[in-house]
């Protein structure tokens, strides 16, 4: 069986997940029901999800039943997503985040510090409630920052050798962890250098200038 050509062409633009149902009492059926699904059976359903796990769009059951309907939906939703969440030139990773004595801690962040690796930490905000004025402004500012400064290819190239972390202040645990580091708003971009306790704040720096700063502190 071959995928429809139109669907196949769109797959490189997504991270595709085949999420196998974990039984009738598993966690997947409740998740589909919470996100627009109507079936209590393990039926095939299709969602487009943002990096923070929130559902961006769900393909109507009727549309998923034809190749043209499904590919049309997917193409339209990817375009809408890419407009709302512009891809950055930087390839950030999420630091792990555990609770130790009730406080969020990140072993991957601490490991990079112990190993004297320079860290570029970006704190953005991916979502906010419809009436949360300040967080909504931060979401908008984060998108602008990502579309501008973080889309600089020169800056991203200059970040070779850096550990790149991105956190989302909409995530309660990550926000608490960030607050302990003095991060109170998004977007914030901090450079943690080996041997130095205080980070360098690069939040106001533009793309070309960011490249300069990153080269200046680049590991040899």
């Amino acid at each position: 069986m071959r995928p429809h050509e139109k669907v196949r062409k769109l797959l490189p633009r997504v991270e595709a997940v085949e999420w196998l149902y974990d039984g009738l009492n598993g966690k997947i059926i409740p998740w589909t029901l919470e996100n627009g699904g109507h079936s209590k059976d393990p039926s095939v359903q299709v969602f487009l999800v943002a990096r923070d796990g929130t559902v961006f769009s769900r393909c109507a059951d009727g549309q998923a039943h034809s190749a043209s309907g499904f590919s049309g939906w997917l193409k339209e939703q990817i375009a809408r997503f890419e407009k709302q969440y512009p891809r950055t030139a930087f390839r950030f990773e999420a630091p792990d985040m555990d609770l130790i004595d009730g406080r969020p801690a990140s072993e991957s962040f601490m490991a990079a510090r112990r190993e004297n690796k320079p860290i570029l930490l970006y704190a953005g905000r991916d979502s906010a409630g419809p009436k949360d004025r300040k967080p909504l402004k931060e979401v908008k500012a984060s998108r602008k920052f990502e579309k501008g400064t973080l889309s600089s290819k020169k800056a991203a190239e200059a970040a070779a050798g850096y550990v790149l972390f991105k956190i989302d202040l909409a995530d309660e645990r990550q926000a608490k962890w960030a607050k302990a580091k003095g991060i109170e708003r998004a977007p914030t971009l901090l450079l943690f250098l080996p041997g130095k306790e205080e980070p360098v704040d690069l939040s106001k720096v533009k793309g070309a200038s960011l490249a300069y700063h990153l080269k200046k502190h680049a590991p040899e």
């Binding site: 069986m1 429809h4 039926s43 943002a50 990096r51 997503f81």
Partner: protein
């Protein structure tokens, strides 16, 4: 019958590129953070062999 049609359409995509597909939503989200791409989640039932 409609469900079966959907399975056929989507399973085609799944079976054609199993190597490139993530196995959990969490894995897809981690990859999306790095790539900046959206996550296409297809929930599907497969009999265990």
């Amino acid at each position: 019958m409609r469900t079966l049609s959907a399975v056929a359409l989507l399973a085609g995509a799944v079976l054609a590129a199993p190597e490139g597909w993530h196995r959990t939503k969490k894995e897809g989200e981690a990859a999306a953070l790095k790539s900046g791409k959206p996550v296409l989640v297809v929930t599907i039932w497969k009999e265990k062999v």
